[in-house]
């Protein structure tokens, strides 16, 4: 049985029908990439899993239990973490406080902080600094670290390389690659080579539904299917 299953998920923003029956699954230990053009529903898929944009139809199961109808914090408490688009760090909290907010309970604080600082030593140097004063790359590292310390079984990672300089993208890719050794991920990423490099499998999303799928190792970024669905 899959760790995560989406079955015919429909979601709306107001009257706009964004997801038109998304079906996908993620197995334990996998990294699965969701690729597609802007505005086809990739981020909404992640938001629907978290019940931030609750689906109006369809089923979402995590470890065989339905997530539909739960509150977002209840989904998170089941072990679903989120590294959102635009980072969404708490800018007025310090680096350490951002991490503490993501660690469930008080017992695991020192282990959680150690994990984050091992992965991103720069964050330890800046641990007392207000997160809003970090550079864009450091904020992205903090957003990823916040996802890692949450003791999550599944990480929903949304556009981790967006808006970053190439060198920073390489650092972020390395961090995600290391994290993927221990974590299951559903990754939304516009940078196709990066997505295929990190992922075991991919789904192509177009107009609110999955239109193709395959093994990441078996394709290259210039595959005809990607040209058809990802070119502007």
């Amino acid at each position: 049985m899959s760790l995560l299953e989406l079955d015919g998920v429909h979601a709306y923003y107001g009257d706009s029908h964004i997801l038109e029956g998304v079906d996908l699954s993620v197995e334990d230990g996998e990294v699965v990439a969701l690729v597609g053009r802007n505005g086809v529903g990739k981020t909404t898929t992640l938001r629907s899993i978290l019940q931030l944009t609750p689906p109006r139809e369809g089923e979402i199961r995590f470890r065989e239990a339905s997530l539909v109808g739960l509150e977002t914090h209840e989904v998170a408490q089941q072990g679903v973490g989120w590294i959102p688009e635009d980072r969404r760090i708490f800018s007025q909290l310090t680096v350490e406080e951002n991490l503490r907010a993501a660690i469930p309970g008080s017992d695991g604080v020192s282990d959680g902080l150690a994990l984050a600082f091992d992965s991103f030593p720069i964050l330890e140097e800046r641990r007392r600094q207000e997160a809003g004063t970090l550079s864009g790359g450091q904020q992205q590292m903090l957003a990823i670290a916040r996802g890692l310390v949450g003791e999550n079984d599944l990480l929903l990672v949304d556009e981790p390389s967006e808006g970053l300089a190439p060198q920073i993208v390489a650092d972020v890719a390395e961090a995600l690659s290391e994290a993927s050794e221990d974590a299951t991920m559903l990754l939304v990423e516009q940078n196709l080579p990066l997505a295929l490099d990190l992922a075991d499998r991919f789904y192509i999303v177009d107009n609110g539904r999955v239109v193709d799928t395959g093994d990441a190792d078996a394709v290259s970024a210039d595959d005809e299917r990607f040209r058809r669905y990802l070119s502007a």
Binding site: L50, L52, E71, T72, H73, A76, Q77, G81, W82, P84, R88, F90, S91, Q92, L93, E97, N98, R100, A101, A102, P104, S106, R146, G150
Partner: protein, 329 residues
Amino acid sequence: MILETLADFLTVSELGSVLVEGLAKSALYVMIASGLTLIFGLMGVLNFAHGSLTMVGAYLGGLVMVLTVSQSTGLVGRLGLFFVAIVLVFGALTLLGGAIETTIIRPLYDRPPIYQILLTFGLTLVVDEVVRIVLGLYGMQPLSDWQAALATKPQLLREPAALGPIEVRWLSVFEILLGVLTVAAIWAFLTRTRYGLYIRAGSEDTEMASALGIDVRQVFTVVFALGIGLAGAAGTLLMWDVAWGASVPLAAETLLPAFIVVIVGGLGTFRGTVVASLVVGMTDSTMTWWFQNYVTFTGLPELMLFLVLVVTLIVRPQGLFGVEEVGGH
């Protein structure tokens, strides 16, 4: 004439007295406004009932004091009972705040902010009227200060204190101490406890906080309850100050400066509220001195508070420490 008045103002005794009175007013303002700013900062709810609940706190605190203090109760006894009254009122108003949030505020979170404004404004009318009815049942005058409650104040707090050449009221010193204690307690709660961390995280981004597993709705209830508890505790202190006193008009008298402080500081930031309380308190104290000694126009010091508000909104519309957007659900 103005130069002579300025020379008077700049003497150690006058300047010191204005400074201490300004700090006392700042202490009162920070106590009144901190509950309001905590609630708006996290929840995005402008609680128009805040002043009315401060007024309820003044009456409840007065009730505890009137029931427990006798003529023979000395300074220590009265101060001890006052702190008991503050704790009891804080507890009672915290419970009331929790009940208000869960029963009538929570169902409106998914509606536009105007619903919460209308609801809390309506709550103000209801609370004020209920207090009037209860006072009427006991033959008490709702528009004037409750003298029996004022009479429970220890004799020392009615007397002037000499701090070197500076003459101030002992009550002002007492208010400053309570203000400092309140700020320290709130600061410690927000920065040293896990719940405080959740509140600050939720104040910035409720959606992200939820996605980290924080039950933001529960945090909303706790913050609303504590905010109302703080309003009640502030009311208990105001009950002893002849400039305020326990009366039904106290609701409006406290709501206006509370909103000025919260807006000048930046909606929803506690640090801003503390600094704005100092700015507004000092302005109030300085202007009161000037309009008592240079121009006799007793209503003008209050108008100056609105001038501070207008200047802030022109120069820095988000307030001294405000961010563009806070709170929400």
